[in-house]
Amino acid sequence: MTARLARLRIRRGAGDEPASFPPRYEEFAVPFEDGATVLDALIWIRSRRDPSLAIRYSCINGNVCKECTIAIDGVVDYACTTRLRADAAMTLDPLPGKPVLRDLVSEMRPPRERLR
């Protein structure tokens, strides 16, 4: 299997920073083999390119914990079950309609279950 290259455009920014317009995206090129997922790429970016990238995941192996849910090209999906592709850049955003904590991580708890 030959390694191919995925291009990921990832929305960046922390919830306590002033919102920037237009929103800030950073692009990463990630080598991958067929079958690798968006979550594989995000983990690769964190250990090889930019450890400050905030992502959320737990089970890694497909639709058990739901923690890696993000918007992929505008469609809400699990990063761990969405395959990478080499033909076009993929745009990753945090969940729509939820407060952003940092980068791809949004506040998912209902308000009354949050501390303070």
């Binding site: 922390a14 919830g15 306590d16 079958g35 964190r46 250990s47 450890p51 905030a54 940092r102």
Partner: protein, 240 residues
């Protein structure tokens, strides 16, 4: 192998593979062992109490319920049975005490988190070191072990622990992933060292503990091991 036999033995797996475009009857699949369950943890008594007052543990966080291997299906009963017991013990402990916050007891941990959130310059990230740690544990402390490999692991784990203060951290208090990585790395190094030290001490093979240099099972080793942590974080086998 006839298709019916495969379906009968691995039906749900075959369906899952088929959804991903893989026909197990025609195509090979790559398989690998993974870390599935941690058979070791906090030492607790029959009431699930640790030696830290008020701290109880059960399930995968506690050690001692399994022998040299966990029987398939035992993880959930273990969590339910001992989780209930730990809950009852914790409730009884809490019943006669008012909730309290002891600033002096918390000071070290609070100060550490405050300091980490200020950030640190360094040449290497905890995310990169966690990758190295996984590689090290796979190659030297994986399914089949030798004294030489385990010693290499113990040495490297101690170096990584000593290097924790040099790890690069981004400043920031809101969901700072580099702070979370640092804390995960520190905890992972402790767990990894516990596994490596215990594996090095056990000079025999049984269950999930396989030593290539000691392939036979030694009846004298039909027991659990306990580790103690010194104030400086160093681990040693011994005691109960």
């Amino acid at each position: 192998m006839p298709k019916g036999a495969l379906d009968a033995a691995f039906g749900p797996v075959i369906l899952r593979l088929a959804k991903n475009g893989i026909d197990l009857g025609r195509m090979p699949v790559e398989v690998a062992p993974i870390a599935h369950y941690h058979m070791g943890g906090i030492a607790v008594d029959e009431q699930m109490a640790s030696r830290v007052p008020g701290l109880y543990a059960a399930g995968e966080a506690a050690g001692g319920a399994n022998g040299a291997n966990r029987l398939s299906g035992n993880a959930i009963p273990e969590a339910l049975v001992f989780g209930e017991r730990a809950g009852r013990s914790a409730a009884a402990y809490a019943a006669n005490r008012a909730p309290s916050w002891e600033p002096r007891a918390a000071a070290t941990a609070v100060e550490r988190i405050r300091s980490l959130c200020e950030g640190r310059r360094g040449d290497i990230s905890a995310a990169t070191l966690l990758d190295e740690l996984r590689e090290l544990m796979w190659s030297e402390v994986g399914p089949f072990r030798t004294a030489a490999g385990l010693r290499r692991a113990v040495v490297r784990l101690a170096e990584m622990r000593a290097g924790l203060s040099e790890v690069a951290i981004m400043p920031g208090r809101v969901l700072n992933p580099t702070v979370a990585d640092w804390l995960e790395l520190r905890a992972s190094l402790t767990a990894a060292a516990a596994v490596a030290h215990a594996a090095l001490a056990r000079e025999e093979s049984r269950g999930a503990h396989q030593r290539e240099d000691f392939p036979e099972t030694d009846p004298a080793w039909a027991r659990s091991q306990y580790l103690r942590m010194a104030r400086d974080g160093a681990l040693a086998v011994g005691g109960a």
